[in-house]
Structure formats: structure tokens, C-alpha cells
Symmetry: C3
Subunit: 397 residues, 3 copies
Amino acid sequence: MKTLNDYIEKLNKLNFKGMYNSDFFLTWEKSDDELEALFTIADALRFMRENNISTKVFESGLGVSLFRDNSTRTRFSFTSASKLLGLEVQDLDEGKSQVAHGETVRETSNMISFMADVIGIRDDMYIGKGNAYMREVSDAVKQGNKDGILEQRPTLVNLQCDIDHPTQSMADMLHIIHEFGGVENLKGKKIAMSWAYSPSYGKPLSVPQGIVGLMTRMGMDVVLAHPDGYEIMSDVEEVAKANAAKSGGSFTKTNSMEEAFRDADIVYPKSWAPFVAMEKRTELYGNGDFDGIKALEKELLAQNAEHKDWACTEEMMKLTKAGKATYMHCLPADITGVSCEEGEVDASVFDRYRIPLYKQASYKPYIIAAMILLSKFENPQATLKTLEKVAKQRKFD
Amino acid sequence: MKTLNDYIEKLNKLNFKGMYNSDFFLTWEKSDDELEALFTIADALRFMRENNISTKVFESGLGVSLFRDNSTRTRFSFTSASKLLGLEVQDLDEGKSQVAHGETVRETSNMISFMADVIGIRDDMYIGKGNAYMREVSDAVKQGNKDGILEQRPTLVNLQCDIDHPTQSMADMLHIIHEFGGVENLKGKKIAMSWAYSPSYGKPLSVPQGIVGLMTRMGMDVVLAHPDGYEIMSDVEEVAKANAAKSGGSFTKTNSMEEAFRDADIVYPKSWAPFVAMEKRTELYGNGDFDGIKALEKELLAQNAEHKDWACTEEMMKLTKAGKATYMHCLPADITGVSCEEGEVDASVFDRYRIPLYKQASYKPYIIAAMILLSKFENPQATLKTLEKVAKQRKFD
Amino acid sequence: MKTLNDYIEKLNKLNFKGMYNSDFFLTWEKSDDELEALFTIADALRFMRENNISTKVFESGLGVSLFRDNSTRTRFSFTSASKLLGLEVQDLDEGKSQVAHGETVRETSNMISFMADVIGIRDDMYIGKGNAYMREVSDAVKQGNKDGILEQRPTLVNLQCDIDHPTQSMADMLHIIHEFGGVENLKGKKIAMSWAYSPSYGKPLSVPQGIVGLMTRMGMDVVLAHPDGYEIMSDVEEVAKANAAKSGGSFTKTNSMEEAFRDADIVYPKSWAPFVAMEKRTELYGNGDFDGIKALEKELLAQNAEHKDWACTEEMMKLTKAGKATYMHCLPADITGVSCEEGEVDASVFDRYRIPLYKQASYKPYIIAAMILLSKFENPQATLKTLEKVAKQRKFD
């Protein structure tokens, strides 16, 4: 695409009315048109930034972030996206401000939102909790807006929960759309979402779940591979099955990494913890059973150690389509001999794919900004047109 | 009011010259006209925001915050207010930067202020310290400006000290002005500022002190109720008495919550620590006597436990005017059966008043923004007019 | 100078093409013209701010800060500078985000830079590490930009490393240029960069190193004074010698504070740790030998205590030119009887020089802003002209 108008015309053909004034919790709650609109806006924002056209649609306003887990890249992506649109970020640091549950969630959600246009939350630590918490916050501010407490209704953006990691999977998808020269070229392509060994034990399930929940919509042949016992959330598997049936793709499971990699166009090897173990951990945590958690961790590490052969080695890569599948990772990866003794991927494989991997990550700020823009602006085509007409420079010339 | 001009005309009738280039420490240091101007500016800013008119009066500049106590809502209010006017917030985190006393206060105050337009401080932990510290900072930057070190003089905003909590009491007042349909309707109304039981022991005195120090100016009948031994700072009682005499209202004290609630138009039941105990605590802290502090806390908790009947129950509410007094709280409240076993207020009472309570809190960012605007702009009427004329949208349309 | 055009004309006479798209690591990597351009831009930005002309050259963008040591003044200077140009600051807090070495530096540097225009780093704790780390980050983002990962290339600003502290020394220099009425008046002036006793043991070497590495370029007679055993990095001494030879000034060393102060026009008495001790400390730290570090600290404190007579007393000041040398310090100083029992400077000396000392510090935000501007804008004269023509007010009028 060459002009902003190309993006606008594409938007004109899509029905994404449902995005206005909505939240972004799970990709499978959105229609195909809505996701395509989101990709289009993300590309348009990138196009504008690369052409030094300001995309500041807010003169003032806040983006509130809440990270219940350490984060560098998602934090910077959220800040970058907010600032790109003109919002200042105020972090709700629970260490400083004690956010609890129930009544307190409702109250705090309103108290931080008097001038908030968006709330981004990362809460991926406990099964059954993160997504539920986000919805609780969203309900509170929606009600606050209805009750006349909040002048505007802040949009909620899921920056990673126990179920999905939509800003990751959407950035991943936008990356391969560009790598393969268009979403239409993804049809019939084989992608292997595979477990891989890592010396750490409890990596979130939201990445593999997000990937199979999204990639199955594009007519791709999605293979989920993991050792026996490393099952993901069954609800998401059902989503993937239904998606595949609808899109004309497929969703299969295997306990063989080799089978998954064979003739794959794309591989996404990554460690995660078994869903049932994470459920158990959540229960232990709820009971304050910290000895139980320690025992569980030990058990999981031992279980992991039996599967050190699940690694994205040079030999494994040779199995893929022409030995040249696109290698993906959400980063940071556990690189054998670099960040750990034995890990998810060989150093030589990682090295060869570093540039596209970094590019993959570069889409996240634009995806987040597009989520905000689509929720806050009823007619984004008009918004983009006006921005182009005003033609304010991002960086003074 | 319907147009911005209505606010401007109101301002034209008031004398608030003293606000320009001044700090906001205590409400009782300000004239009636000055407070009315502040309420008017706060309303005008809200009006403009609700009508999508940008109120960004700074292209760049800093709002510096210093919180010597945990804070969510005041932190977000200060950030919201700063951003509303175009200032970026930089927090002075003492954990990261060690602010001490004496020479260091003078130096640090200047070092953080080379481009600071406002400094907001919360320092409510020790009697005789917080307000004094704020004045020390203010003196330092005033002198720095005179000496040609600081190009501009940052305004100091008291975000809660040991004596007053002006951003809270002013927001509370603006709320009831709107609830009762105008400040003139508050004349003769009875407000009960009452102690209430909470399982925690050392809540700041600045809220009850701020309330009796401000509400007595509006011709209201202000009743301060608490168990024997829970006296507030006597200096503030003197302020309240003098205010009442001047405004034609009254200021009375009682050791009976029932008496205070009877026929009250407004009730504000809230826990606080006895002033003398807090003075003792400050002394113990000064001597580094941490065992003494622990003993004192234990003693205070035992004393509190004798007054669990001081609670805003449904029965108590029935005593109020038609059983329907406005219930106020600075939040978060200790709600019986919700946030604690026995607390300041019944869950059913709190629930019934939740919406107005949240609205009460929503005024704080506007109050803070009005404090900044009145101090930094000599002719705010002209400033508002120009903003309206420029008519830049807060949120792109 | 009276008009912005004066600054622009001065810039027209200078060759500073090398600054565009470059980093600022060490002053001695920059040409005389480049440093003069930097001073000129800093003065121009100050002139504009003092005349209420907006210097916002970015509509959006990030300034990323990374402080590996506590910091108040440098943190605020970086935030002030960034905001002055329109950049929002996002701090990379390692406590929150674990920045390690090698592969991770490359990856993290790119991940935080998708929308970053500048990265400011303070890393002064370990010899041989800080400056090397900054260059590693810079190399990573330069490569990222070449590889098409980063749309723009963030500029790196050294906010203090193990070798130099260029934002400090440049601010110090700009201060004395103004104090002495022009850089030409510094020729032949004697400046004593002297060690002074402090009760703390390991103050960074970057200040004395930065001072002798910069001041020797202005034709000044630079005397480095310290007790035997408190040598600075020998590489920097070589830089100072070469500078002096070229500029027609001199660089001498002495173990007598009196000799350094005698007839000095400027004195800069300040504590630092011996270079060899800091090298040893870095080695111990690398080996995880924390007992060794403790023993070293004890040893250094004992060594320091032998030199309590190295203090900037009233008597010492009498030795200086007419008893009225300019007293400089990077602040905070250890003031005898104020911040410590025995320290670097007498309280009466410090008091007499407080105003110029604070002014000295006030240049830092402008120096940082000038570093950013010169690196991001190829033709800063045109940029300044346009800013003047647009004439947007910083603070609404």
C-alpha cells in the first residue's frame, strides 16, 4: 500500500461497528472483519509514523497500566502506543497502592478512571483469575460511566491474561501477514505451535492458547505439539477446532515435535506449563499453601527435565518446508548455550532469525494503539483522513 | 450554568488576586472569594472537558509529586490534573532519591524545580512535620526564583498534611454544593463530622480537621462528634469556631454520635486517631523508640475497640433528616462485613450511597487543576476565553 | 545575546555535522566546534524558554532512561530535557525488568526502542563496565535501525559512566562561561580540581575525570590535586595532557591542596575513590566476593580518614585569587557541620556560594536537551528559526 487512502478504502469495506466503545479481551470474541480492521489500522498508524505524520488524537488523557507480573516489552509497547495517540501513562503500582478484590476493585477502577481513556492490564499468573479480573474492572467502569461518575468510559485492553495474549498473537499474525505477502497467502500454510524445553518451569499458557485460538481462523493448518501431560486449556482447544472448521483450515494435536515440524511453513517452539498444574498451583495459592507450591514447582521441573529433547535444533529445522520455515517466538527465548545450558532453541537457529524476530515484536505497539483507536473513535476512517489533512509532523522538520 | 461565559462572569465578580503566584496550604488561609473562584474554575474546567474543549495551558512543564505515604486516588488525581493542563508528572520517589531535612530540603527543592510549574506533596504521617515541610519547600523555591536560579516559581499544592487536606475538603464541598443546588442552599444545614470505629488505628486527622475548618465557613451547623479522648487539633477547633461566628453558622462538639446524627442533612462518619496520641507517636518516632510506638499502637487499638458502637448503621441513618441525610466519605471506607468484620459503615448504607460517593471523589482532579491554574495565571478569565476561542478538541473528532 | 538570531548566526560559523545521528559518550570524542554548538543550542533553548517560546520539536516519542544508581537531579534533568522537546519519559527500571548482559542487551535495547528517540543511561558503579554497556546498547540500536527493525535510531546520552560525566562537565563549563563573561575569558585561568575528604568512601571518579578532560580544552591551567594514592584513570590524564598542549593551557598534578588552591580562579573540591581501588572493587564484585568488598570499604574509609585536612575551609579559600575564587561542586556536597561532622567544605564557604552553585546545576537540563536536539536534527538553525516563527507559547498567555 502506498497512500493512507488505501488503508481507508480497505476499512470502508469492513464491518467493525462492534469495536466502538468495546474492550479487547479475547481475539475469538471479535469477528473476522473486526480483526482485519485492527490490522489495517495498525498498518495505517505505522505508515503515518514512518511518514512523520502525527497520530495524536488526544490532546490530553491517561492510559492506565496495571502489571501484575514483571514486564519490559509489554510495558514499553503500552507506553509507546499511548503516547503515539497522545495519552500519558500512569502506572497503578500495586506495591504502592494495594489493589484487592470485590468492592475494592469496583471502587479503585472508578477512582483511577476520572480521566482515563484506556486501562491496560497484565494479569496472567493464576488460572481463572486474570481474565475475570479484567472483566470486573471493565464492568465497574462501564457502570461508572452509566451512573454519571465517569465522563468517559475507559477501554480495557488485555495485555496478557490466563486465557489469551491478544496483543501478542495479533502482533505475531500481522508480522506473518507481511512476511507472506498478505493474509490470503496464509491459507493452507502449516504452523507448528510446539512446546519446547526451558529450565524455568511455569511459563504462561496464554501464548500457545492465543496462537491456536487466532491462527486457526486464517485457513492455516495449525498443529499443537507437546509432550503428554502439557495440555493447554481445553476450552481454547474447542475454540481452535471450531475456528478451523469455519475457516477451511485444520487444528490437530500431536505428542511429536518432529511430526509438527515436518513440512511446516512456520514454527513457534516455546515452553509452557501444563494447564492442570497451573490450576493446581492457583488452588494452592488460594489456600496459602506455599510448601505445596514449592513441591509442585519441584515436580514440574523434574517433569520438564524429561523432555529436554523438545528443542528447536538445526536438525529439527531441517524437517520444515525446504528447511526454511519461519521461526517465531514471543521473546525472550531460552537459547541453548546463551541464556541457559539447554533451552528452547539452538543459538545458530535463533541468530539466523533474529532480525525477523525483532520485527515480529515491533508490531505490538501498533496493535495496542489500533485497539485503543478502534474503541474510542466511531469513524476511524474520518479520523485518519483528518490527521492526514492536518498533517502535523511527529518530529519537527 | 450553560456556557463558559457564565463561569467567567462569576469570576469577574470575585476578588482572588491573592491566589496568583501563591501556594495552597490550608483552606482557612484563603478568603471566601478565593475559594469561590476556585470552585468556579474547577466547574469551568469540568464543563470544558465534558464539552471536549482542550484545557491544555502548558505546552511543556512538570508537575512534581512527592508522596510520603501510599496513595492511589490522590496520585491519580494529581496526574490527571497535571495532564489536563499539559504538565508531565515526575514523581520524586524518596526510596529512589533520599530526601532528608534542612540544607537538603532547600537544595533538592531547587534541583527538581528547574522546569517545575507545580509541586504536590502528601506528608501526613507526623504531627508538626508535614505542613512545616511543605512550607520549607515553598520557601526554598520562592527564594530560588528570587535569586535567579529558577526561571519560574513552582506552586506548592498540599495533597494532605498533618493539619489539613484541602484537595479533599474542597472536592467534598464542591460535591455538596452541586448536591444541594448551590452554596446558598448550604446555609443552616446540619453536617455531622463524626468519628467512627475502624479496625485500623492511626488514620490521619487531616480529613476531620479539613472538614470542620472549611464547612463552618458556609453558614452550616457543623457538629464534631467523637468519643472522649479522640479530640482533634485544638488550633483547628479555634479556626472552626471563628469561621462559624463569622458565617452565621455554628460549631459544636459532642461525645454522642446519636446527637450529631439527629436531624443532620449530611453525615461524614470516619475513623481517626486522637491528636494527643499522634503527637506522642511523632515524639516516639523522633526518638527512634519503636518499641514505644508498638506499645502505643496496641493501646490505641484497645481504646478503639471500646467504641465499636460508633458505626454508621441503618438505625443511625434513621436519626438523620427524614432518614435521608447525604452520607459522605473520603474513601476507602471500612465497610462492615465487606472490608472488615466491624467497621465505619453498614454495607447497605454504603451501597445505597455509592454513586454519590464516587461522584464526590470525581471533583478532586478538577480542584487540583483549579489550584494550579489560579496560581499560575494572573487573569484566568482571559485564559478560559482564549481556550474557548482556540477551541482545540481534547479528543479528536 | 539578545535575539534567537544571534544564536543561529553563531551556529552558522561552526562545523558540527558530526553530531547529527551520533551519541554522546565522552566530551573528548567531540570537536571544539561541536562542543561550542552544544553550548550555543543549550543557551538558545534557555533563551526561548525564558521568553515563553515552545521548544517542542516532537509531537510524540519516548525518552528512555536507565539509572543503575540512585539519582534525583540527573533523573529530573533528563525528564525536564525530554519534556522540553516533547518526549515522554519511560524509565527502564531494572528491578522491574531485569536487564542482563550479552544477547539480552541487544534484545532489550531493541525492544524498548520501537518508538524511542533517545536513551539516557547512568551506569557509573563499576570500572570498565558503564561506558562499555552504553556502547553495547548504542551498537544494538544502530544495527536495529540498519536492519529495518527500528524506524528511527535512538540517540544515546551518557548520564554518567565510569569514565566521564559529560552532562555534568558540560553544564559546569557553560556555567563558568557565563560567570566569566565568555569562553574567551577562560584562557589562562587557573582551575583546581581537588580531592576533598568525605565520610563516605566510594564516590565516582567520573566528575574529576570529566572536569580535567574538558576544562583542559579551553586554554585553562588545570591542576589536579589529591593525596598520594587517589589517582584517577591514567587514560583520562593522557587526554588532559594532550588537550592542554593543543589549547595552550596546562595540566599539572600535585599532592598539595594548598598548591592547587593558590591563586586559583576556580576551585572544585570533591571527594572520589582511588581508581585502583575501584578497579579492585569491580573485580571483587565480578567474583561475587562480598566479604572482600566489605574489607576494601573498611580499608578505604581508614585511608580517607588520614586526609581530613583536605577540606575547602575559609583559610583555604583565602589562598585563591583575591580570596574570591569561584567555588564549584556537582552537588550534593558534604558540608562540615551540616550534612556531616567533617566534610568537603566549610558551611560558611558553601553558604556564600550557594546561589551560583544552584545556577551551575540549572544548566544540566538544557545541556541534555541540546545533546538530543543536535543528534536528532540535521539543521538545528532551521529548526530554531521555525520554532521562533511558529511562536507557540510554552505557557499559555
